[in-house]
Amino acid sequence: MIERSHHDMGGLPAGPVERGEHDYAEWELRVDALMTLLTGVRSAKKLMTVDELRKNIEALAPDAYDTMSYYERWVISITQTLIQRGVITTEQLARKMLEVEKRGR
């Protein structure tokens, strides 16, 4: 039998479903907006596909998949995809993150 991937959970046992929900934070909405733009939905240049978003989310280690929040998985996956595609480099991102961190937001 082929072993299932971690994200492929349909039909497996799991705990009770509780009606938890939260208002999305601004940064989460911006991640979502960025994804919309990068997939070329709103007339921006198409630089990645939804399948790539999924592929890089599904490539996360099982415990990372489970402990990261939804949009944390997205932002990691988008970043990973853009690095794979050569749109940005790891060095550029690292430099930028240092700069933003110093600035405070």
């Binding site: 039909g11 046992p13 009770p16 479903v17 009606r19 601004e26 907006a33 919309t36 733009l37 988008i78």
Partner: protein, 198 residues
């Protein structure tokens, strides 16, 4: 923004979001204006869009037929765009109750309902609703009578399902607006049914 004014250090992922976005703006890949416009568009998309579609289907049998045949085209008739996706509307009847899920990720008719609630994306819902929907629906507060069949629809990246709930009795002669007011997001996911409050 809720964090404006008081200083809070960014989490690692927030830092990544800000940095990634600024980098992409610097490179001319996206503009701040495009990000803002997209956020505005997201805020405009809420469950009242889906509710309009349901209310029209309840009052106009010809529209209902077109909606079930081609969800995307029927929504466009009402001026509701469904960008880049195929919408499949599934109709609940006295015999069959429909509910939607995305077991693999989080696909959801967001163009008509807005962003999905957290529980829809949770491991527990995604894993169990396809195996034991009756129990899961009861956990979410919906008791489906034993003689009603439950049909679960698992979405994919290219197409999305939305439930056309059963019009409840006691709503004869209601206007479309009044009908739309009882169609909640959860009714169109299939974890609730429209209720008439007396």
């Amino acid at each position: 923004m809720t964090d404006r004014g008081s200083y809070q250090p960014l989490t690692y992922f927030q830092l990544m979001e800000v940095s990634l976005r600024e980098l992409l703006v610097e490179k001319g890949v996206v503009t701040d204006a495009q990000v803002d416009e997209t956020l505005e568009d997201m805020r405009r998309r809420g469950p009242e869009r889906g509710a309009r579609v349901v209310a029209r289907a309840w009052t106009d049998p010809e529209f209902r037929k077109r909606l079930l045949a081609d969800g995307t085209a029927a929504c466009e008739e009402l001026g509701l765009d469904v960008p880049a996706l195929r919408l499949v509307v599934v109709e609940s009847t006295p015999e069959v109750h429909n509910v939607i899920v995305c077991t693999l990720c989080s696909c959801y008719p967001r163009m008509l309902l807005g962003l999905p609630p957290d529980w829809y994306k949770s491991r527990n819902y995604r894993s169990r609703v396809v195996r034991e929907p009756r129990i899961v629906l009861a956990e979410l507060g919906l008791e489906v009578p034993g003689d009603v069949q439950i049909r679960v629809h698992d979405s994919t990246a290219e197409m999305r399902y939305m439930v056309l709930p059963l019009r409840p009795p006691g709503t004869g002669g209601w206007s479309e607006e009044r009908l739309a007011s009882i169609v909640t997001r959860d009714c169109m996911i299939g974890v609730a049914v429209p209720e008439v409050t007396r």
